[in-house]
Point group: C2
Chain length 213, copies 2
């Protein structure tokens, strides 16, 4: 898996510019962490992060691509969750014969089986439970980077309910990750991915497209 702070795909390194980069990247990441902590995920801007690091915004874009990737790099996440979720959802769309919910559960479990992903999830959650500032940032990040891609596969008669549908999916998926990997509650930790997909997939399907009141 590509590290999120690698150079953005399609923009090859120019060797003439690399000399000063060794101190620039840490300065950008430090500034990003401060901005995310002080202004939340939604309020932090590439412009302000660049200004805090004393560099041009174009350089931040050049190194990290977008805010979501910069967040992943600053928080040392081993993946860019929103991109992984978008990948999962586009794979799901390619196999229309199977339940979307079952495929989402199976793919999410495959992502969470990685110890580095579990470690990052644990660290983010612990921060959010410890600091209100960190909770605000994580909440805004979940809303923007994770629930928005999920919302693209939700549908119903009332489009205003779409964010609620995506958040319901989030509540079950976070609860699954918490009970299986963090608390390791017996029967959930012992179940195979297939069993969990069969049991929880229909819940996800109903939250995405069924009657949610």
């Amino acid at each position: 898996m590509t590290q999120p702070n690698n150079r953005r795909a399609g923009r090859p390194a120019r060797s003439g510019r690399r000399a000063g980069a060794s101190g620039t990247r840490p300065a950008i990441l430090d500034s990003a962490r401060r901005q995310f902590a002080d202004h939340g995920y939604a309020g932090a801007t590439i412009r302000a992060i660049a200004s805090g690091a004393g560099v041009d915004p174009a350089l931040v874009h050049h190194y990290y691509g977008n805010k979501e990737r910069l967040f992943a790099a600053a928080m040392e996440l081993p993946i860019v969750p929103g991109e992984t979720i978008s990948e999962i959802l586009s794979n799901v769309a390619q196999e229309p014969g199977q339940s979307v919910g079952e495929q989402m559960v199976r793919s999410a479990l495959a992502m969470w089986e990685r110890p580095d992903v579990q470690g990052a999830f644990r660290a983010q959650l612990r921060s959010a439970l410890t600091s209100e500032q960190a909770a605000v940032t994580l909440r805004e990040y979940i809303a923007e980077a994770i629930l928005q891609p999920v919302a693209t596969v939700a549908s119903g008669t009332d489009p205003e309910r779409t964010p609620f549908r995506a958040a319901l999916v989030g509540s079950q998926m976070l609860g699954l990750a918490l009970t299986r990997y963090m608390l390791q509650v017996g029967p959930i930790a012992a179940a195979s991915p297939e069993e969990l997909a069969a049991a929880i997939g229909p819940t996800i399907d109903r939250y995405l497209t069924g009657d949610v009141g």
Copy 2:
């Protein structure tokens, strides 16, 4: 709500015995915290806790009734969760015309609306994410004190699946508490208890009695 470390109902205080109690109760609670940390919830015994506090096991029973209440007192929980859940479930049984799942969601939300309950939940979860020892204790406590009462209202053709059913309920309920109260994810935090009961109740019903694969 009665504090869990109050004298057990039905056993009135005997004034002749109260004089020495001021140091005895803290000693019992200290010993309990050590035993729960060292041996988990399942492995800790009233006998060993009494021995660690230098008192007779009968005195521990006299003050705290049972291990579940002693755990609640030692962890400074504002309620005894298993007892609250059993109460909720017995109330549910009295209104057979309504969906069990909707009533469970509504009652759980009423319990979690209390700031002291949220604080205790946050503290327990943070400990479990910080210390593997605390995670073991919480996992065993959830299995014994919380999921066992939930399992009493689960049913299906395969009784061996009952613990899995109860754990599925736990995964959705914990995910709901996490997203609504800890992370405060927008649409889940903004929803009314009635909306959440309508949306999530059918999930709980299916986990308890429906087809879970």
